[in-house]
């Protein structure tokens, strides 16, 4: 069976996470993705880890290998006129361009929708930028941490009201990059669908900041509805909703509904303290959390994670382990569902990767090939797809265009 996007032709000019993730979501469903990297340097993700043995190697970055499987890789210097001409030739035969060039870099190389649409009026072009293609922050510099901080979500995380001296805490990894990339994938597919349903090509302008502001849970609305600023120092109104340490790891204690709390109390053997008036409903447990926490930490500290997880879930109480990476790789549930996949790569060898975010009934998610080596498919694409002669390719190579 072919994937849902088989036959769709995508060109990616992507660095690090956001645009590469958008194109990965499409590549994993069968789209043909040609990824353009800078000659000699390549995608910056090649220089970010994790690396085997902690030794940086541009062909063995776990982040790069994950984000770029299923893609063809070519190198083009878009700042040279002949390089831009190659891009235009690729665009002429493509359906979609995904990029996350910083707007001043777009200006510098002359990348714009109007220019590319002259070569291909049916093109869907998606620009993923930190703050969007208009407005006073258009040309502001940004990195993962500052985009995450601009989105109103970073301010929510931290040690809580008992440790106001500790700053807001970044969530691990590249959540801003991934959220921008996933939203861009939805927006891009909306444009692609409009086109096959009789529409035209168009330009999609995604602001990474706005994708985060859009997922502020109920928190943003506290200002327009109640004039309340929400940040890491707020008390949780309901308890218990906390990670606690067991004998062999951490578990997340989670009782939202009263029946869940009653079941948890029964699981603990109905201790006397649980009958105290100050713990009698979820709001009181929130108000009196400092007292409750002492009892719970003592009891939870004597348990083991998987045993308490199973016993709680048997009673429909939604506890969850604070999974380590090892827990995830060894999970019987994830194994039974076949979540993780193995990919053989010429430089990095055979490794286990996260797999499909969604299982498709009729048009499967599939790994067809590993991430490209830098410039691996130059010949295949420039000769095989664009019809350039060997001599021309050698000439472009000697000029540093590819």
């Amino acid at each position: 069976m072919a994937g849902a996007l088989a036959g769709l032709k995508v060109v990616e000019i992507g660095e690090l996470v956001s645009a590469p993730y958008t194109a990965k979501l499409m590549a994993d469903l069968g789209a043909e993705v040609i990824k353009i990297e800078r000659p000699a340097i390549g995608d910056i993700a090649r220089r970010r880890g994790p690396f085997p043995g902690g030794r940086p190697d541009p062909e063995r970055s776990g982040l790069f290998l994950y984000l770029n499987a299923n893609k063809y890789g070519v190198t083009v210097d878009l700042a040279q006129a002949e390089g831009f001409e190659l891009l235009e030739q690729l665009i002429a035969r493509a359906d979609v361009l995904i990029h996350n060039l910083w707007p001043p870099d777009m200006d510098r190389i002359g990348l714009s929708f109007d220019r590319l649409a002259q070569r291909n009026p049916r093109l869907v072009m998606t620009s993923i930028t930190p703050f969007g293609l208009g407005g006073s922050h258009r040309d502001w510099r940004a990195e993962e941490l500052t985009i995450w901080s601009s989105g109103g979500v970073c301010v929510l995380n931290g040690a809580g009201p008992n440790h106001p001296e500790l700053p807001p805490l970044k969530t691990s990894g590249h959540p801003a990059g991934f959220q921008a990339g996933a939203h861009a994938a939805a927006a891009t597919m909306g444009a692609v669908l409009a086109r096959v349903r009789g529409g035209v090509g168009q330009h999609v302008d995604v602001s990474a900041q706005e994708t985060l502001v859009s997922q502020n849970e109920m928190v943003f609305e506290y200002w327009p509805y109640m004039g309340v600023i929400a940040n890491r120092l707020g008390r949780k109104p309901l308890q218990p909703l906390e990670a606690m340490e067991c004998r062999d790891g951490w578990i997340f204690i989670c009782c939202v509904e009263e029946h869940q709390w009653r079941s948890f109390v029964a699981l603990m053997g109905n201790p006397d303290w649980a009958n105290e008036e100050i713990f009698s409903d979820r709001l009181k447990r929130g108000e009196n959390w400092e007292a409750l926490e002492i009892f719970l930490r003592e009891w939870v500290g004597q348990q083991t994670v998987l045993d308490l997880y199973r016993k709680a879930q048997e009673r429909r109480v939604p506890f969850a382990p604070v999974s380590t990476m090892g827990d995830l790789l060894n999970s019987e549930h994830l194994k039974a569902r076949g979540f993780f996949v193995e990919i053989e790569h010429p430089a990095a060898g055979r490794l286990t990767y996260p797999g499909a975010p969604i299982k498709y009934g009729a048009a499967p998610w599939q790994i067809r090939m590993p991430a490209p080596l830098l410039g691996q498919h130059n010949l295949d694409i420039f000769s095989g797809r664009l019809g350039l002669s060997r001599g021309r390719i050698d000439q472009l190579r000697s000029k540093g265009v590819i």
Partner: protein, 415 residues
């Protein structure tokens, strides 16, 4: 295409809480007719959660949480314990392209609305389930709550202050992550149907979907067999890289002092030279303790205290502006008031939405985080009140005569 890129696509939306409504919100943004099937006997959880105008709930239509994630949708209120309600739902599905839900595994089957049933109603139907654990596997019946998904997926064990315990993300990150991936999956399936005529069923485990955006930690383990250390706000490839305290907000809010911070990420030595000059310490640019990344990493505690001794005297927006003017990546650690009132850029982009709502009046809501040049998109209406569109859907979408609608209302099938 005046109605947006998904104009003419109808979604029978059985989702609730956050992940599912976040999925269908993206589809509503692009012009799909999203009809939420709701019930007053078990209302959407977010209808009963804060914030509320004035801090107090006024019925089931006053929650800012619900009103944010259901903009541009319609609401059909059915009571499934009454005869006739299931038939209305089935008639709606027959006129829909997509059916969405985020119930636990098995709930749609028990309602009589499992995928095999739906195919009999409409042969090319597209259905997606966004459940916590997925449809298969030994834990498929486990109960999943938003706050517990963050630790379950591995994000908590990766996140924390140096030397400290595992921490949270501060919000139920796995929910919108699942929602936006679900929207992409629905659109990919619609594309597939457009080309092949074939519908399909899609099974999402929110747990797995969250791991798909955590490759750094997972591949550290699969490459090296080691669990990543928690490194606070630092980064192995950049320094300084952190969140630095600035002056508190000048005004207290509801009696509370509000602290403020600036986030700074210095990506290379040249950026560090610019930053040193911008904070009035140009001599540090070429100081052997700080000139190169490796040296800055070795002396990071001292580096951070130097920066904080500068930032503590600045207002956060001012600090971010000074650094940006010097060509250094920096931003206020934005809170809701900053975004709502003080981020002029978001206003200039026209990001926010202010539409009238019959119960809460006109309130500022978050809008669509992207723009489209040829099929313009806009939030078309405020979130629906419970059952606001029941009559118009039965009459205009299903074509039921008034007498039949009245009969259903009398029987209690309509709320």
């Amino acid at each position: 295409m005046a109605g947006g890129p998904l104009s003419g696509i109808r979604i029978a939306d059985f989702t609730w809480v956050w992940a599912g409504p976040y999925c269908t919100l993206q589809l509503a943004h692009m012009g799909a007719d999203v009809i939420r099937i709701e019930t007053a006997t078990r209302p959407c959880v977010t209808r009963m959660l804060p914030p509320w105008p004035g801090g107090k709930p006024a019925g089931l239509d006053s929650s800012g949480y619900y009103n944010q994630y259901n903009q541009g949708k319609r609401s059909l209120a059915l009571n499934f314990s009454q005869p006739g309600a299931l038939e209305v739902a089935r008639a709606l599905i027959a006129k829909s392209d997509v059916v969405t839900n985020n119930f636990a595994h098995g709930v749609m089957d028990r309602l009589g609305l499992g995928y095999e049933e739906l195919r009999k109603i409409k042969s090319d139907i597209i259905m997606i389930s966004l459940s916590g654990y997925g449809d298969t596997g030994p834990y498929r019946d486990y109960v999943a709550y938003g706050p517990a998904q963050v630790p379950l997926c591995g994000l908590s064990s990766l996140t924390g202050y140096i030397g400290g315990p595992p921490m949270h993300a501060g919000y139920s990150y796995a929910d919108p992550n699942a929602g936006v991936h679900g929207a992409f999956a629905v659109l990919a399936a619609l594309y597939h149907r457009e080309l092949t005529g074939e519908g399909q069923y899609m099974d999402m485990s929110q747990w797995e979907c969250a791991m798909a955006v955590l490759p750094e930690g997972i591949m550290e383990y699969t490459m090296n067999g080691t669990e990543p250390q928690r490194i606070g706000n630092r980064d192995p490839w950049m320094a300084p890289h952190g969140i630095f305290r600035c002056k508190d907000r000048a005004e207290k809010v509801l009696g509370f002092t509000i602290d403020q911070f600036v986030a700074v990420a210095v990506s290379d030595d040249a950026a560090w030279q610019r930053m040193a000059a911008a904070i009035g310490r140009p001599e540090l640019a070429h100081d052997p303790k700080f000139a190169a990344l490796a040296a800055r990493k070795s002396n990071e505690d001292e580096l951070e205290s130097i920066i904080e001794s500068w930032s503590i005297g600045q207002n956060a927006p001012q600090a971010a502006g000074i650094l940006q003017n010097a060509g250094v990546a920096a931003f206020v650690v934005a809170d809701n008031k900053y975004l709502s009132e003080e981020d002029q850029h978001l206003k200039d982009r026209g990001y926010f939405v202010n539409l009238p709502h019959p119960v809460v009046g006109t309130r500022q809501h978050c809008g669509i985080p992207w723009k489209m040049s040829a099929t313009p998109i806009a939030v078309r209406s405020a979130a629906p009140t419970l059952g606001q569109h029941t009559h118009e859907i039965l009459s205009q979408v299903l074509g039921l005569p008034e007498a039949e609608i009245a009969r259903l209302r009398e029987s209690g099938a309509l709320e």
